[in-house]
């Protein structure tokens, strides 16, 4: 699935379903399970209906009547967060839980901590922390 049609077309996957929503909503609007179900049903139907490699199915949903969000998407001030190289928890309680678990957690897989690969130190670049 995708909400960025041009980026997905450049990547050129075998099949795709395009939902024309703002980024951060690839599979629907929050707390609208019926809409989310409808979107996913139509996306999954593409597994059968798309028969040409590289086709994108456009899903028939619209974020808002006026599409005003499209004017500001990726325009204006840079609102990305600095690219810290330490875990960025949603809340402090998560950090505490994860630190208590860290030695035993088997569901966090870090390629760069694998014993067969030397871990290269990641250094922050203070000049351009967002890149």
């Amino acid at each position: 699935m995708t909400s960025a049609l041009d980026i997905t077309q450049a990547v050129n996957p075998p099949r795709a379903a395009f939902l024309d929503y703002p980024l951060g909503h690839t599979t629907g609007k929050p707390c609208e399970p019926a809409l989310q179900r409808d979107i996913l049903l139509q996306a999954l139907a593409a597994f059968n209906s798309l028969t040409t490699p590289g086709c994108v199915k456009r899903l028939p949903f619209r974020w808002s009547e006026d599409d005003a969000w499209k004017e500001t998407a990726q325009r204006g001030p840079d609102d990305r967060r600095p690219r810290y190289d330490t875990p960025q928890y949603q809340n402090e309680e998560d950090r505490r839980l994860a630190m208590a678990n860290e030695s035993t957690c088997r569901s966090c897989t870090h390629a760069d901590r694998s014993p067969v690969m030397e871990r290269t130190p990641i250094t922050a670049t203070p000049q351009s922390p967002l890149r």
Binding site: V11, C31, Q36, L44, T109
Partner: protein, 161 residues
Amino acid sequence: MSQAVAYMARIREKYTQLGYPAYHWVVNTDPPPWQPLRNPLAECRLGLIASGGIYVAGQVAFHYKDDVSYRIIPKDVKTADLRATHFAYDLTDARQDPNVVFPIDTLRQLEHEGVIGALADHAYTFMGGIYSARRVREELAPQLTNCLLAEKVEVLLLVPV
């Protein structure tokens, strides 16, 4: 339906304004690989991979600097235990309802209804915004592929942000 946002052009413009060098988009010109469905969806085991930075409370969160790690999320995870972290998109809605970038409740419902044969035992998540396409290709993607093959996934839903 109005025209889709031209993200590549807008981001190129933004980078120029910020004085950054141009971003190198992944552009694949070869025809994509193709495999028709062997069985109806209602008989298939479906896997889920999402790049919106979803983790479970208790797991280590993603960091924002070319993090090529991934998290293994059991299919029966409590939705309330899911978290979202990412440097590049507005997390408000994903934190309110992770299903907007990680449709776990929706897929559990569709499994229950028999629309899909089965949902694989685990979903896999990572945080996009990885600037090294090479590290995705050589480190992250092969590991995820092995996970999916081990779980005998037949169709895969990719949910990027």
